[in-house]
Point group: C2
Chain length 343, copies 2
């Protein structure tokens, strides 16, 4: 009975296999939509846009007006967390995020988790606004960056390759332990607040799970994510969590069983049938269309979507991309993809 | 009896497990060595340097003078192949390789495999010079880029992400089929010539096996590599081949069983115990130390090396990095790594 009130994606995360395959797309709210570009043009800075509840809510809702999809994901950014904790963060046009790097153990005091709820209140307010507009089958998703992914930005002060952060992390285990503790608390607070504000589930984006050795993956991805999941479930026992460790296709079973996330996202290069076999037919998987197959369109898009649909028949599956949708994606190709899935 | 005459690495590739674990490092000849930088400073262009037999042979031998390692790999570049076939290729300082992109099916005629042996004669001459200096336990390795990896450069005209090449390949299957046919023939000729010039084995570098969907991996990596291996073994039935599909850690068993390579390279993020279990204890694996653990040195380097050595006890294993050694690597750390392996 209670189950019937949960949106399709949440039932799927819980392991139910339904007739309709739920769909959403990473970065679905954003630059591939002309209506987003228009909205964004009226707002100067990217962070100000994230912190404007009306604008963020509008951007979040735009893809649902256009496409027959099953979730809204709040328009925000993973770097609101270091920003809300007091680190300098800016988004430079054409360059990407720039932070004032933190690399001294004494500087970790600068990161203040007590301000998160107040500073990110506009994000929670935006979630509330979106929630009001959704029907009972549409899910609202919150998200955060995973501890290691955020650590790379905090240490390096920028995106790009993580070589600098890796070297630093190899040499500074005590710094890393303290930073992870701060991030775990901060992220649990932020995810819990998103759930309280109306999100039905949250996704943890481990965007930089690639190029990590067995040891590094265990210490920097598995261990802190496990603690984050445990802490969130302490605050919110019914929290539904999708973990997405991009670049760790071969470790999804390990990641799922060790961290305690409810569902697992598969990136572009995931061997999806092998993953389904390893993880069994009860766990919800999500993914994994190549965003560039969606740009290309045509026959290859059709083959690629059908390949995923074949796998999706084996167990609970949320159709998604294997990485964020890119700005040059033709809207007609997204429509064709959805039509193929809806059959 | 014949076996005794083969160098240690070759016996390991053939599946023999010996007391001594063979070692070499990708990019071992190059910019982390001061003697290389000195040699290189006397030679203007990178391609001219590759095509100067004395200089290339000297660069190839330098790491063997300094370190207790078991192979020399010819100093060259994967892009000598498009260059030798007539495509414009240049290496710009601080930018990397720049090619005149080929994206029209009619332009594929420009790629002329008949000139490879003549144009790359200096590479084969360098191999002969190196061979004379090695003892019977030291292997000489040749190499090439895999068809898909070379195709990305040929199509895009540059390195970096492969999104452009992927989109193009999705939309132009006929172009890709013809380009792969040309590359397979060209690479078989080049690998065979390297073996005839003295190489004991060759490595196929699929540097861009990452971010490929199941379908793309099968069509662009597995299928052309399988044909290349078959064609090379036609020309040279005893050819020993190491395949290194970087970014395809989860597909190594598939890659090995489908392509026919003799040994498989594991990249940084490979789950090495899982790979050993999947592939069995008879097949030679190679890898996979993180080059940035080697930069960092210290305790983490020791833990990382020992983790690989634990796995190396299970089957034939060539100790290597999971990616090329980087210029900032301290020589003392390489020495410490070798000392740990030698026990």
């Amino acid at each position: 009975m209670e189950n019937q009130n949960k949106p399709l994606i949440i039932r799927t995360i819980e392991g139910k296999k339904e007739e309709r395959i739920p769909i959403w797309m990473m970065r679905q709210a954003g630059r591939h939509l002309p209506e987003y570009k228009e909205l964004r043009a009226r707002n100067k800075s990217f962070l100000d846009f994230c912190y404007a509840p009306a604008a963020a809510a509008e951007a979040t809702l735009q893809p649902l007006r256009r496409y027959d999809i099953d979730a809204a994901i709040i328009f925000s950014d993973i770097l609101v967390i270091p920003h809300a904790m007091g680190q300098f963060v800016d988004f430079k046009e054409g360059i990407g995020p720039v932070l004032e790097p933190i690399r001294e153990i004494t500087e970790l005091r600068k990161l203040d988790t007590s301000k998160i709820i107040t500073r990110l209140n506009p994000v929670y307010e935006a979630l509330g606004r979106v929630k009001e507009k959704l029907n009972s089958e549409q899910a609202l998703l919150g998200f955060c960056g995973a501890p290691w992914t955020l650590a790379t930005y905090i240490i390096q002060g920028k995106g790009g390759d993580r070589n600098d952060a890796k070297c630093f992390a190899y040499q500074n285990p005590q710094f890393m332990a303290q930073l992870f503790d701060i991030l775990i608390e901060a992220l649990a607070i932020h995810l819990d607040a998103q759930l309280k504000a109306g999100a039905n589930a949250v996704q943890i984006f481990e965007s930089w799970a690639e190029d990590l050795s067995d040891l590094a993956f265990n210490e920097w991805v598995i261990a802190p994510t496990k603690k984050l999941v445990a802490r969130l479930k302490e605050l919110n026992p019914d929290a539904k969590i999708i973990g997405f460790p991009r670049g760790a296709s071969h470790r999804l079973k390990l990641y799922h069983s060790q961290t305690g996330v409810n569902a697992v996202g598969m990136d572009i290069s995931c061997d999806i049938f092998k993953t389904r076999e390893e993880i069994g037919n009860e766990i919800c998987l999500q993914g994994n269309l190549d965003p560039f197959a969606l740009v290309a369109g045509g026959e290859y898009l059709e083959k690629s979507v059908n390949h995923i649909l074949d796998c999706a028949r084996l167990g609970p599956h949320i159709f998604n991309l294997g990485h964020g949708i890119v700005p040059q994606t033709p809207i007609a190709n997204v429509e064709a993809m959805i039509k193929l899935i809806r059959g």
